[in-house]
């Protein structure tokens, strides 16, 4: 089946599930959870098929696109030579998007499966699955689109799904606040993204990736304008992936059910920001990339410090996610493109696994989330403990685990970047610091929950291992966090290569490097012919035609290793392993042996501890800096300008409308002169008005006034 049709099917299945679920969900048996499960399962299988095709083709330059016209504002008025928006909607399939598809569908499927157990008996059970399907649809759509405008549409849809899912238990006041906060903070970021889109549209007239890359190739977007556009688009990523300035919403997002946190706030949605940077990697100018690196790096370290002191298990994981995302941004910033994306993929699996572990722990302890109330659960919940151990090892970056593979490359990238650009060596420090702290707080979490003696007997007594529906996904995710599947012939580096502007002859196709995975060799010949010829990459090149003969082209190139990169690589490897084991040992000292009592340390560094606990008072700062004055301005605008000055002052008090007469008039005037006009406000005009209305009743006065007016007119006209 043609790959485009496959991807279309992958996207639309969750949408169909959503519509069925939302309309008739309640009335179906088992509240219709099997519908969304089935749809995501099929999507998962299809995306694996796509992955299989990608493996069989094994071509880094794989690029299949298909477009349909959405709307064209100059279709009928072509004779008026008006240049108007022509917006095609299309699908872009390349290795990056296929991998993302696989990641999203896997985690989504496992979360669907997990939440059957976790959410059993919830009042709005069917609506939960509807929202999950809607989320999967919008995430898949985001991954597959080929232009920025449609990406923005799915970007916001994903935001709405996170709003709906965070505020799922809306009875809780904190959940209601959290979902609003999440939506608004991401919206601030989205505005940046939209401004970026506008800037791109203004110069190009179209917003599809291919046209952006062509323009970049022809030298556009290189100057300051390009940097600003890049940074605006990055603002969207900052909002969505909770980077430094806009990270405040992610910890509060933990109000949502744990499967939601696992799916949305660990693996997929927050990764959308990174995906955007990956997708537009070539578009960013060098100094834009630098800012990205700095923001990413700082967030990584900053979030890691905050995770140290938290009691709530999910909050710790939330900050660890922010920190890991920071690392990915750092990697992309320093140019380690494959490392960044690789970390995204690996992080998705082990972070999802960690969240689901925390979910099963909370489920077992009937909603208790405080680390200091848990303890010694390893005996009671062996399976959960086992998977949690693997995931923690992976995230800590211990060799033989997936985390190590990707983090090591990131650190290597940062180190080599530091070597090439000595003034920016701070970035390397960010990288190593963050990964060290990660190891520490992750093992702190592990030791506090599973090791030591149980701190709360009652809770401990009826803790039990969760049912297989919950543990099965844990096991699968744990397996995915093992390192060896990524090591195999480092297929990842091969498939995902760093896109660069290189001048290549259009006709010569960079031959895919010879060795492919042995087991796929024979399959490759077979699948070659059933791949839809029109979609193969070769002819796509011809489509560009001859006029771009030797213009620089955006293509994926195998990065050849310079010698100091090799040096950086080995050094990073050694340093990261050392840091990992050292912080594990440190955590062991802190929490198992109680050699250094954490309480005493917190007293000693009282001020530092408080700043960490209160998350550097950023929330309060934002409240003080932005929201407070905003409300004050609004009240001022409304009360002062709207009602007093314009309404009563200018309009009502002006003599025309409000007649302020000497003595009380009919009731009509009183309703008109409402609170705005104080009793005796006389404008000159209304004073004059009294004169006009003089009817003293004396006939002779009338005559005098009449003759007087005539004489005045006479004199006036004589003089004029």
């Amino acid at each position: 089946m043609d790959m485009i049709k496959l991807s279309l099917l992958i996207v639309t299945l969750p949408l169909i599930a959503f519509t069925i679920q939302i309309l008739v969900g309640k009335r179906l048996p088992r509240d219709g959870d099997f519908i969304s499960l089935a749809s995501i399962f099929v999507s998962w299988i299809l995306s694996l098929k796509l992955l299989w095709n990608a493996f069989s083709l094994y071509d880094p330059q794989l690029k299949i696109t298909k477009e349909w016209l959405w709307f064209d504002l100059a279709r009928f008025s072509s004779d008026l030579d008006i240049f108007a928006l022509k917006l095609p909607v299309g699908i872009l399939l390349d290795n990056v998007s296929i991998l993302m598809l696989v990641v999203v569908t896997t985690v989504s499927f496992l979360v669907h499966f997990y939440s059957i157990g976790y959410m059993k008996g919830d009042a709005h059970y069917s609506r939960f699955f509807a929202y999950l399907s809607l989320f999967s649809f919008s995430m898949l759509g985001l991954v597959l689109t080929d232009n920025l405008f449609v990406l923005y549409i799915f970007w916001e849809l994903v935001g709405v799904c996170s709003y709906l899912l965070i505020g799922f238990w809306f009875e809780k006041r904190s959940a209601a606040n959290a979902c609003k906060k999440a939506f608004l903070t991401t919206r601030v970021g989205d505005i940046g993204l939209f401004i970026g889109i506008m800037m791109v549209f203004t110069t190009l007239g179209s917003v599809s990736y291919s046209s952006i890359f062509e323009a970049k190739a022809s030298g556009l977007f290189s100057g300051v304008f390009g940097t600003i556009a890049g940074l605006c688009i990055f603002m969207g990523a900052v909002g969505k992936s909770a980077q430094f300035p806009l990270h405040i919403w992610l910890p509060d997002a933990m109000e949502g059910p744990t499967p939601v946190s696992a799916l949305i706030h660990a693996a997929t949605m927050v990764a959308a920001g990174v995906y955007l940077v990956v997708r537009l990697f070539v578009f960013f100018t060098p100094d834009a990339l630098l800012t990205i690196a700095y923001v990413g790096g700082f967030t990584a370290l900053f979030a890691a410090t905050m995770a140290l002191t938290h009691q709530d298990i999910k909050k710790v994981l939330a900050y660890s996610t922010v920190s890991q995302l920071g690392l990915m941004m750092l990697a992309l910033g320093v140019g380690a493109y494959t490392a960044g994306f690789f970390h995204l993929v690996t992080h998705a699996s082990f972070k999802a696994c960690l969240f689901l572990v925390s979910g099963s722990v909370i489920h077992a302890l009937h909603g208790e989330q405080n680390l200091f109330k848990m303890g010694g659960l390893r005996k009671k919940m062996p399976l959960t403990f086992g998977t949690c151990l693997i995931a923690t090892l992976a995230i800590a970056g211990v060799p033989l685990f997936s985390g190590f593979v990707s983090k090591d490359q990131i650190l290597a990238g940062t180190l080599s970047f530091a070597y090439n650009h000595p003034p920016h060596s701070l970035l390397a420090f960010f990288g190593f610091g963050a990964s060290a702290l990660t190891a520490f707080y992750m093992f702190r979490l592990l030791f506090l929950t599973f090791f030591g003696k149980p701190r709360d007997e009652k809770l401990y007594s009826h803790a039990h291992e969760s049912s297989f529906v919950i543990t099965l996904p844990l096991i699968i995710l744990a397996i995915l966090s093992l390192g060896f599947i990524y090591e195999k012939q480092n297929w990842f580096e091969h498939l995902i290569q760093k896109p660069q502007l290189i001048a290549i002859k259009s006709s010569v196709v960079v031959a895919p490097n010879s060795e492919t995975l042995p087991i796929f060799k024979k399959i490759k010949e077979k699948t070659k012919e059933n791949v839809d010829p029109s979609a193969t990459p070769q002819d796509d090149r011809e489509v560009l035609g001859d006029d771009v003969k030797d213009q620089p082209q955006v293509a994926y190139v195998e990065p050849h290793k310079t010698e100091n990169e090799k040096k950086a690589h080995t050094q990073a490897m050694v340093a990261s392993v050392f840091f990992a084991f050292f912080s594990i040992f440190l955590a062991w000292l802190f929490y198992i042996q109680r050699v250094i009592d954490p309480e005493k340390v917190s007293e000693k560094y009282k001020s530092v501890y408080n700043t960490l606990v209160n998350l550097y008072w950023i929330d309060e700062a934002y409240q003080f800096l932005f929201i407070g004055p905003l409300i004050k301005i609004n009240n001022f605008l409304y009360k002062k300008i709207d009602s007093e000055i314009i309404d009563q002052g200018f309009i009502d008090r002006s003599a025309l409308i409000t007649v302020k007469t000497a003595h009380a008039q009919g009731d009509f005037d009183n309703t008109v002169i409402d609170r705005g006009v104080d009793g005796t406000a006389h404008t000159v005009f209304s004073g004059g008005l009294k004169l006009v209305r003089i009817q003293t009743g004396q006939v002779q006065d009338y005559l005098k006034i009449g003759l007087g007016l005539v004489i005045i007119l006479l004199i006036a006209f004589i003089l004029m």
Binding site: L656, I657, V659, T661, Q665, G666, F668, D669, L689, V692, R693, Q695, G697, V699, Q700, D701, Y702, L703, I705, G706, L707, L709, V710, L713, L714, F717, I718, M720
Partner: protein
Amino acid sequence: MLETLSFILPELSLTLTLCTLLLVGLKFKNKFLLYSLVKMGVLATFIFLVWGGGGYLNSVSIFSNSLSIDPLSRFFKILILFPTLFCSWFALNSYELHEKSHIEALLLILGSTLGMFFLVSSSDLLMIYLSLETVSIFSYVLAGIRKKHALSNEASVKYMIFGTFVSGGMLYGLSLLYGMTGSLNLLDIATQLKDYNTHDFSLLFISLLIFGGFAYKISAVPFHMWTPDVYEGAPTPITTFFSTAPKVAGFAVLIRFFYVVFSTQMTEGGVTIWATTDLHWPEIVALLSAITMTVGNFAALSQTNVKRLLAYSTIAHSGYILMGFVVLGVEGLEAVLFYTLVYIFMKLGAFFVTQCVGNKFKNEELSSFKEIGWKSPLLGISMTLFLFALIGLPPTSGFIGKFYLFNAALHKGLLWLVIVAIFNSVVSLYYYAKILKALYLEKSEKEFSFTLNFFDSYVLVFLSVAVMLLGIYVEPFIHWVKASVYFIVG
């Protein structure tokens, strides 16, 4: 001699009705009989006017050039017939007029109409003064027709004192004019005045004195003070008559007098316009028109008595009509004629509704108008139409009239006057809406039911249809107005 009589057949038929009514009135007091007499008389006059004497184009001036029978006078005569017809019916049904004084009211109204017929077609000073005085005298008595009612007496006293003073002044002006030009006939005066150096003070003084005389009739600013008191004092049907018929006659004689004596007729680009020598009376009158409008509208803002409110609105409308008069062009004249035509029906309607409410509650305060809209839908809807016409809102004829006026004024370049006028019509919405508010939006304390007898509803329907018809199917009336702008004096 006989054929000149044929020219004044309408006036003759009016006198005939007057006399027969006088005789019949002695014996019979039956309301319907008297009214059928009046109806027949008015119908006869109407027929004579439309088809009889003077023919269509060949206007003629009779009685040694003192009366001119021409399209303009015919137009105004037809217009005056309507108030006579309706106000006599209103007089017969008003709670304010006692059974005995019905016949007097009818006679006085007919007499006053006769005076106006002559005023409209008079083209020499003597005839103008005579007819003006007849109308005034009849009006003084009409104002005081309610014998035992103190307010009615006071109204007639005030009207009389004010009227005599102003007509005395006008007469003095006429005498000076006669002295200056040596002739009574308007045309001769005009030719004499041509070669008279007109910029000196005396002619301006004379023109203002004479303008004062006519301004009193149409209650324009310098001499408008009497209108509110007299209108409030006099019984409602009489006030209705005062606010419609004399206004029309006043404007007719104003046009004839000022367009002949104080300005020379020229045709410029096929359009006849009247240019004034350097005597600045148009500027003065424009200023007066603006002041009249503003006084009328602003004074009405704070009224609670509907009759007094409508009195001020009459002043305001005179201000609007003066705007057309000041344009000194054929378009201006057409606008004046059309607006008077439209104005009559609105005013008759509004006063009639006030009278119906008055009959029920014995007073015309705004508070007695509460919830009438709900109790009798026909009264409510027709009053809404009249008020919207008075404001000048589109579907009604008031808008077409105002549009005509603004068009003429803007064509002349009087942008400032148009802006004052539109400013005023917005203010007028405010006090007219007070009546609407009372009709529909307010709950009245006392419980009452309101029924209209057949005749009243028939009259209401006729007037509402007239007001709306003139707003929608306007073409024939515009033709009629365009045809009757032609007038002769000599």
